[in-house]
Amino acid sequence: MADHPEIDALTPYARSLGITLDRWEDGTPTLSVPFDETVEGRPDHYHGGATGGLLETAGYAALRAELARQDRAAMLKPINITVQYLAAGKSRTSYAQGRITKLGRRSANITVEAWQDDRSRPIATAVMNVFMAEPEG
């Protein structure tokens, strides 16, 4: 098995927003998004929606990586997400990484953190529930 699974970590939405796969850490993808007009809310700060989009994308990427590692094929459907905004996102690159808290047969619970310069001081966290459906056909 490869060091990390081949996954399609980024949706068309995520790519359009400017999110990229930054690195792998213990089999979990870390995503990043550069500060750009596409993520800007009030001047020189991240829009809450953009930060939320990064968190959500990182959550899905973590889940896809784990499913690929287990050789499971599934269509992912969002159930819900709760985002906690802890600090203003400043005009620099943001990173996010998800951690799977529980992986069941039909649903997964994922915790995600986003940070900028200091990994130990997250700017936002999220908890997501995702439904995994049997692939069609």
């Binding site: 399609d8 949706t11 068309p12 939405y13 995520a14 790519r15 359009s16 927003l17 007009e37 596409t38 993520v39 800007e40 809310g41 009030r42 700060h45 991240y46 829009h47 809450g48 929606g49 953009a50 939320g52 989009g53 959500e56 994308t57 269509m75 992912l76 459907k77 969002p78 159930i79 819900n80 997400i81 709760t82 985002v83 906690q84 905004y85 203003a88």
Partner: protein, 148 residues
């Protein structure tokens, strides 16, 4: 309060917010408003799709749409444009949005305190009685003296 006495006009304010930045990139548009609620429209876009192989809008843009509509609902309810920041936002995605449809985000500010504003809302794709998502959020007012 009559419309003339109101200072914050969501219809006019929308173009200010959507002319630039994240909201501008999403292409958000004004749709409707009331005394304490605002509805914005997110037009269908091919490059905002979620899961590969499915013609379904990603959930991220809905989160952004609701965050923006919620902020505007708060300014509308306070009738004042002051700095606010999202503290907590929960989105329940109850069904996928229809392919090719605009998604409308309607948020209502039901309570404002000295330091916080509480909102709830829904996203729909044409029929508000059949939502695609429900949301609940809390925003903090940022004191003018606070360093940003």
């Amino acid at each position: 309060m009559s419309e003339q006495e109101r200072k914050f006009d969501p219809a006019k304010a929308t173009s200010f917010f959507t002319g630039r930045g994240h909201s501008g990139w999403l292409g958000l548009k004004y749709s409707d408003h009331g005394d304490d609620w605002v509805e914005l429209e997110l037009p269908w876009r091919e490059d905002l799709l979620g899961e590969e192989g499915q013609r379904v809008l990603a959930s991220g843009p809905i989160l952004s749409l609701m965050d923006m509509a919620s902020g505007m609902a708060i300014w509308r309810a306070m009738d004042e444009f002051t700095a606010i920041a999202t503290l907590d936002l929960r989105v329940d995605y109850v069904r996928p949005a229809r392919e090719g449809a605009s998604v409308f985000g309607r948020s209502q500010c039901y309570r404002v305190t000295r330091s916080a504003a509480f909102v709830r809302g829904l996203a729909h794709d044409g029929d508000a009685d059949d939502p695609v998502a429900h949301i609940q959020a809390v925003f903090m007012k940022i004191a003018p003296t606070a360093r940003l």
